[in-house]
């Protein structure tokens, strides 16, 4: 890094500048977080902070950030601090700012009530000015002036209350209204993102290092927000679902653990309505899909990587596999409805769902198994062959055992995915909205042998059956109502159960991968 070449003297002169820039980055982060909080209604923009409305406070913060960022640029341009700016901020930044300023100009003109031609013209003018300011001035000015001005403008609008609580803009042709509650957080978040980036560039002293810092700040922010969305989603479902899931749960007593939500059906007689039939349905669907897809997928992977010569055939199989992988789940559902249902008694059935999910699981198993088998070093095969072991015996006792970890991981992750699929079983398996306990399929006890074709039958395989994701969908389309108490709580409990089933598969899959990888590196 170029940092190593800096001398102590230069560093001293810049330290207060860097400190100010770092403070600006931190303040941008805080403002962004507060903006996010107001967007999702955790905070209220009218909430008083030291006697002043939050939206006004945010406006002042943005204003000072904007002025500060422009100040960083000026200080660098007037050579008060030692920075290494390049002649221009670059065409990418120029285009981005042109777009931003076109949108700002157009929005302001539109909110002022101008016609569509005039707001376009205003937008074009502001966009062109921003483009010129970014592209044709030195980097320190080009990357601070356009961003700082956005923050100054937004800050002024918020601080003076032009945009604030009670502000509204009716989008007539869109049949929607923008309110201050939404506009303030959006302005705040957007402007603070820009000032954060510009301040990060100033912190790095512009130039190559400044761009490095600026880009890293943005990327860290993106990853952080993705992860927080993930954590937020899971936590939200858990919090909402726990009361339903543990309704009537008790430890001790006659049975050691009584968990009515998981062991009851939904009927008027049961004290606590439960999801037992759907849970059993999901388990059987997964078992059926695995029984079909895993042997087939692993066998095909063995043939493709050990026997087949690379050529037209393997290419076609590869294209077909990847094509199947990306085929939408609803198309699999249509296929199951058109192909399997007429062949299994002409109504929705458990076995049709099993096979449909099996078709979906097949490409996942095939792709991961093939990768796992290809990852087995050729030395293993050569050593075995050198001992005079035949090809098939080598595959069976050398290649497959070495590939098992990879295959297992792939299968578990694939199962996690299909366990949550709704669209295919919606069309092929069906079932009731709130099935009673007796609706749970009993596949093992259902086999019957007869003298006439098809000789072996199993009525419970041929019946429409509920499953966790399907039941959730059915509840939603029924408007979250039904013959049970607290249907909404029931639905959240169901959603949590489904999420837990899927996440447990993922957790096991990921843990298996770590376990085997660690073992491999020992």
């Amino acid at each position: 890094m170029s940092r190593a070449t800096e001398t102590a003297l230069v560093r001293e002169g810049r330290s207060s500048y860097e400190g100010a820039a770092a403070t600006a980055i931190g303040l941008s982060g805080v403002v962004f977080a507060v903006g996010l909080g107001t967007l999702v209604d955790i905070l209220d923009i009218t909430a008083p902070i030291a006697g002043i409305r939050l939206s006004t406070v945010l406006g002042v913060a943005l204003l000072s950030l904007g002025v500060g960022v422009i100040g960083f640029g000026l200080a660098s341009r007037l050579d008060y601090v030692d920075t290494k700016p390049q002649p221009s901020a670059g065409i990418a930044a120029a285009v981005a700012f042109a777009v931003v300023w076109f949108a700002i100009g157009a929005l302001v003109a539109g909110a002022a009530g101008l016609g569509s031609i005039s707001w376009m013209a205003v937008g074009l003018v502001t966009g062109t000015i921003a483009f010129a300011a970014t592209a044709f001035s030195r980097e320190d000015i080009g990357s601070t002036l356009p961003t700082g001005s956005v923050a100054v403008l937004g800050g002024l609008a918020l601080a003076t209350g032009v945009i604030g609580p009670g502000w509204e803009w009716v989008l007539v042709s869109y049949n929607a209204t923008l309110f201050g509650d939404t506009a303030v957080p959006v302005v705040v978040m957007f402007a603070s993102l820009l000032t954060g980036w510009a301040a990060a560039k100033a912190y790095g002293g512009f130039g190559a290092r400044g761009r490095n810092v600026g880009a890293y700040v943005l990327i860290y922010l993106i990853v952080l927000s993705i992860l927080s969305v993930l954590v937020g989603l899971v936590a939200f479902v858990v919090v909402k679902g726990l009361p339903g899931l543990f309704h009537g749960f008790s430890i001790g007593g006659e049975q050691v653990i009584s968990w009515p939500f998981l062991t009851n059906g939904a009927s008027l007689l049961a004290d606590v309505a439960g999801v037992f039939p759907a849970l059993v349905g999901t388990i059987w669907l997964v078992i059926g899909a695995v029984l079909f897809a895993v042997p087939t997928g692993v066998g095909a992977a063995v043939f493709l990587s050990e026997y087949a010569e690379q050529g037209r055939f393997t290419q076609v199989v590869e294209v077909a596999t990847n094509g199947l992988w990306s085929t939408p789940s609803i198309v699999f559902g249509l296929f199951g409805a058109a192909f399997l249902i007429p062949r299994f008694g002409n109504n929705k059935s458990l076995i049709a769902g099993m096979l449909t999910l099996g078709f979906m699981l097949l490409p996942l198993v095939l792709i991961t198994s093939r990768e796992a088998i290809l990852a087995v070093p050729d030395e293993y095969r050569d050593a075995s062959a050198a001992l005079g072991v035949s090809k098939w015996k080598t595959i069976r006792s050398v290649v497959l055992p070495a590939a098992i970890p990879g295959i297992t991981t792939g299968v578990i992750l694939g199962v996690g995915r299909i366990a949550g699929e709704t669209a295919p079983i919606l069309l092929t398996t069906g079932g009731g909205v709130l099935p009673g306990k007796s609706a749970a399929p009993s596949v093992l006890g259902g086999f019957q042998v007869s003298a006439s074709p098809p000789f072996v039958t199993n009525p419970s395989l041929l019946e429409a059956t509920s499953a966790l994701p399907y039941q959730l969908y059915a509840l939603i389309t029924a408007g979250l109502s039904g013959n049970i108490e607290a249907p909404e709580q029931f639905a959240w409990g169901l959603a949590l159960t489904l999420l837990l089933v899927v996440l447990v598969f993922y957790a096991i899959g990921i843990a298996t991968r770590y376990y085997f990888r660690k073992k491999l590196h020992q």
């Binding site: 190559a208 026997y307 077909a320 409805a337 959730l472």
Partner: protein
Amino acid sequence: MSSHTGLGIQDWRKPVEQRLQRTREFVTETEPAALAIVVLSMGSLLTAFAGFLLASSWTAIPFATFLVSTGYGWVRHQALIARAVTFAMTTVTIVTLGLIVVFIFVESIPAFQYESATVFGVSVPGLGMFIQTRWDAVTDPVRYSLLPMIHGTVMVTAIATLVAAPLGVAAALFIAEIAPPTVRELVKPGIEILAGIPSIVYGFIGFTIINPWASDEFALNGGSTYLFVGLVVGLMALPTVVSVAEDALTSVPDSMKDGSLALGATDWQSMISITLPAAFSGISAAVLLGVGRAIGETMAATVMLAGTQAIPDPLTNVFYGYETLTSLIAANYGNTSGVHESALFAAGVVLFVTVLCLSIASQYIEARMRRRLGGAE
């Protein structure tokens, strides 16, 4: 592709002759008993498949024969039967894809015929689905235009791509290039888990939380909006983009980046001018696959959208949420019959063909990238 010359026929004959020769050798070398059992096993499997296709109740007999003969062969001639059975398993993917194509197309034929339109005196089946905008299965005139749903799918996919592509590529850059090992070991499974959250759970949150919130926040007529469906679907397509783009980024040889870093470039400069351009085709393949996922996403759209088949005015109105191709099928299948049901299959055909094309395009791009980084060019 050199077979378009005058020698084409000879070129084509040679491999066939070679194959015949090899087959003859194989037959003479193999024990007759083993050969017989393989032929019996594969023959009965084919018969069982044919019987299943014809929906014959006698399918059980050839299938049992297959199981018994394969079981016997497994004990006596394991190597040969294993090879034959794994080959049969390999064909399953091709057969499945073929069956999907055949069955969905066959079911959609009545709708395509119903919606024939005449161009220059030639009747083109299915054209009526794309040149007018009326979908109404109940009141006269009964028409099945797919344009409203295609518009919905385009809106949702466009918004989803705007979310998933930049965020996905940034996250992939983070995982592949920036993150310290311990952070990477935390972020990667996190994104994988994001892929695991079932779409109906997203839909449920959308239906109970986001739709009422949006309705309130924008004073809408009902809470269904393409805007928020697109955002949710973008979140769901994100993991696909991340994992494929990350594969592409890590496949760029370290020697290329090291060269750049050794010249004094910063990490970000190396990423922008070396890694990203080298992995560009892989990243575009990732975005294409993400688009495919967004197009095919069903349950969140079904639950969150209003389910009316209309085109909003103005076209870009993201505050309306009517119907996508996927939600049309999911919401209506089972309550329909005849040409109406067939029209749902036609929607499935449009979906399937679009996504398959995207998949093939991304595979082609990826293969080209692998060739280039392999040093062939």
